[in-house]
Amino acid sequence: MPREYVPILTLLALAGGFGLLTLAATFLFGKRRPTARKAAAYECGIIPQTSARGRFSVKFFLVAILFIVFDVETIFLYPWAVAFRDLGLYGFVVMLPFMGLLAASLVYEWKRGALEWD
């Protein structure tokens, strides 16, 4: 077990423990007098108009795909940034076509109006 992960594990345990403890404490010690309004999903927020189980527009799907494309792009940038000092100028030149093509795809996306919510 890599020792550096002990702080992350501690944080996870603390965060999970806090959530569980809060839930358990309110479950055990809290009084329950539910009313229809209290049981609503957003008790002190906007009043729900319809069920949230309706069908969503396909536009959300497009946004998700565009998000993933650039998400994957950033993933490729991480090891590049870490190894950049060793790769030097070569690393810079090698990255140019990759970034260039993705910049071109961003321009295409923009021109095509895929970023508009029409």
Binding site: I65, F67, Y90
Partner: protein, 169 residues
């Protein structure tokens, strides 16, 4: 200690996956899939593949799950819950799963996948995983890396062509 964590993560993956495929509500199944992904990231950390663990959380638990949830929300989930959850291919699927499991067992029993040793790096001995990956990816595997950008471009154009009706000026 390490072994205990391995079994914890492995049990988490198996448990979350079993719960996932038995849920009638697809949204619950999707959330259980996130849990399985997180446990998988834990396994990657144990194997010394920190970069993969990060990718697992960023891309799978983050990006892919957003995509899954959006595509679930495009469907009519209320109807899907009331559909029959089993069909006649389940026996066939179980047989295929057992067969695949036996194959994996056979390969691992003979000392693992041969390609894994070709690198000469033992698990967990890599000189700072992300760094090592960066040095190899942009030199030895430069061509696949550049091809990946074309693949990303194709994915994006495909999505726009499919989901956008006409060119809006």
């Amino acid at each position: 200690m390490e072994l205990a964590f391995f079994y914890l993560f492995a049990a988490g993956i198996v448990g979350a996956s079993l719960l996932m495929v038995t849920r009638a509500n697809v949204i619950h199944a999707a959330l259980l899939l996130v849990l399985a992904f997180l446990f998988m990231a834990g396994l990657f950390v144990l194997a010394g593949a920190e970069f993969l663990a990060g990718v697992q959380i960023l891309i799978y638990a983050g990006g892919i799950m957003v995509l899954y949830l959006f595509s679930i929300m495009l469907m009519n989930v209320g109807v899907a819950v009331r559909l029959r959850q089993w069909h006649r291919q389940s026996v066939l699927a179980l047989a295929a799963a057992v067969l695949l499991g036996a194959e994996v067992w056979a390969v691992l029993g003979r000392g693992g996948y041969p390609g894994a040793k070709a690198w000469g790096w033992g698990l967990g001995q890599t000189p700072g995983n992300v760094e090592a990956l960066g040095e190899v990816l942009y030199t030895k595997f430069l061509f696949p890396f550049e091809v990946a950008s074309i693949l990303l471009l194709a994915a994006m154009i495909g999505a726009i062509v499919l989901a956008k009706r006409e060119i809006t000026r």
